[in-house]
């Protein structure tokens, strides 16, 4: 009995911790993005609210919460209200399977720094990231607006296309680790990170997650130059905030996954594992922000062309080569 209670308490504590850290991080990622973009553009960025503008996310939150919750005429009420949650929740849920630190020993218990060490963790990630597409698709459709609809159609096609190359790029990882369990994958990299064996898979995965979290140069579903704000054009207040935060949660989660699959997860010398993991996640986040400050948006046909005709075949070739290599090595 005692055993179960502590387990559940630990589990709840981990969930709470993950929620808190991710949401805070997402909020500050917005701030960081604004700051970094400002620096890139020789500006100062937000610096009015609090010291160095550090309370800006709080101000943004208050602003979003106090804004009018607007629903366009003719919008599908339930889907319209549900869509932002469908975009944000699956993103957070993926984090349940990501190990963010080495197992700890606490009160005689071994505590995994991972909410749930699922044996099909990688598949769960694939499934949840597919579900997140619904948020985009339904939000855009339910808005009863041409811009939102066009954005959501783009989002739908883009996410499905790049899911393919993303999944295929992960097959060699599974082949190398011989497990779908994420903790096994991390442990398999204790000696050498998979990026060394699988540089091509890493690049494909990196490009695919950029497309997956709808970041420049793949932000066609939003494309403010063409579609106002794409699939969330009609959203206001905190519902827009959910879409917005969901995108940044996605960055954290996908950054975490990239670290887990290719950069050895929490493995690293000298520093504590949690710090290593956080540093890798933040490095990915910075990379995305940097890319946004540099790259232009792709044209839609270029995007599809690139996904289907280059990334997917490359990933397939990579699998075959990896297979041959494994077989030859015995």
């Amino acid at each position: 009995m005692m055993y179960d209670t502590i387990d559940i308490a630990l589990l709840l504590a981990k969930i709470a911790l993950v929620f808190f850290v991710i949401l805070t991080l997402a909020a500050y990622l917005v701030f960081a993005e604004r700051k970094v973009l400002a620096w890139i553009q020789d500006r100062k960025g937000p610096n009015r609210v609090g010291p160095f503008g550090l309370l800006q996310p709080l101000a943004d939150l208050i602003k979003l919460l106090t804004k009018e919750d607007f629903r366009p005429i003719g919008a599908d009420k339930w889907l319209f209200y549900l869509a932002p949650a469908m975009a944000a929740i699956p993103a957070i849920m993926i984090f349940a399977v990501i190990p963010f630190g080495a197992p700890l020993t606490l009160f005689g218990h071994t505590v995994l720094l991972q909410v749930s060490d699922l044996n099909v963790g990688l598949l769960l990630f694939m499934a949840l990231s597919s579900i997140a597409v619904y948020g985009v698709a339904l939000g855009g459709w339910a808005s009863n607006s041409k811009y939102a609809l066009l954005g959501s159609i783009r989002g739908l096609a883009q996410l499905i296309s790049y899911e393919l190359s993303m999944g295929l790029s992960l097959v060699p990882v599974v082949m190398l680790a011989r497990s779908f369990r994420l903790s096994d994958i991390v442990n398999a990299q204790s000696g050498c990170w998979f990026i060394v064996y699988q540089p091509l898979a890493f690049v494909i995965f990196l490009i695919s997650i950029a497309a997956e979290c709808k970041r420049i140069p793949f932000e066609l579903p939003e494309a403010e130059g063409e579609l106002v704000a794409g699939f969330h054009t009609e959203y206001s207040g905190m519902r827009f905030g959910l879409f917005f935060v969901g995108e940044y949660i996605n960055i954290i989660v996908l950054g975490g996954l990239a670290a887990t699959f290719f950069l050895g997860g929490w493995h690293g010398p000298f520093l504590p594992p949690v710090v290593w993991f956080s540093a890798k996640v933040l490095a990915f986040a910075f990379l995305f922000i940097w890319m946004r400050g540099t790259l232009p948006r792709l044209r839609y046909d270029q995007l599809m062309h690139f996904g289907w005709k280059i990334l997917t075949p490359l990933a397939l070739v990579n699998i075959v080569v990896t297979g041959w290599w494994l077989v030859l090595r015995g």
Binding site: W39, W290, G293
Partner: protein, 176 residues
């Protein structure tokens, strides 16, 4: 290889933005830091006086004609000393776009633009400036010009005493 040059191009861009991250920002923190605009900056409009203290504006309506947003209106009138001046002169700064065409059109150098750009108010009607708000006690940028000295009609000086003028003709004179 095209793909290699493409990747090089991407990396060049990334490198440039990376360098810019460490540059000093060009931002000026406006309410705390203020920049003194140059004297020819085009902001709040004033009506100046000639070196003798008279109003330069003769209400000739050229500024209101030149104004592309029709923010200037006036009513000319004749003063007791024969000068033409504005009975009322109004600039609606809520409408003004500070293009400077009025100052350019002004034949008497009366209407001039100053570098004072901080004229925001809460009430939009406070931006309707009347003549008493516009008229200043100085010559502005051109300190020597007095239109009536060169106008060629006797208003501020007896007829024929202005610059480059002969004394009035004696029409009853018999000399050729």
């Amino acid at each position: 290889m095209k793909i290699l040059s493409d990747i090089a191009a991407l990396l060049t861009g990334m490198w440039i933005t990376w360098k810019h991250m460490f540059r000093r920002p060009v931002t000026i923190q406006y309410p705390e830091e203020k920049r003194q605009p140059y004297p020819r900056y085009r902001a709040r409009i004033v009506l100046t006086r000639d070196p003798d203290g008279g109003e330069r504006c003769v209400a000739c309506q050229l500024c209101s004609a030149a104004c592309p947003v029709d923010c200037i209106s006036m009513q000319p009138t004749e003063d007791t000393d024969g000068r033409r001046s504005a009975e009322w002169f109004r600039i609606n700064f809520a409408r003004c776009i500070f293009c400077g065409l009025c100052a350019e059109a002004c034949p008497t150098l009366a209407i001039q633009m100053t570098p004072d750009f901080e004229i925001c108010t809460r009430d939009i009607m406070d931006l309707v400036y009347e003549k008493e708000d516009l008229l200043i006690d100085g010559c502005g940028k051109s300190s020597h010009y007095n239109f009536y000295r060169h106008a060629g009609i006797g208003v501020t000086q007896p007829r024929g005493n202005g610059a480059e003028e002969l004394p009035p003709v004696d029409v009853r004179g018999l000399l050729p």
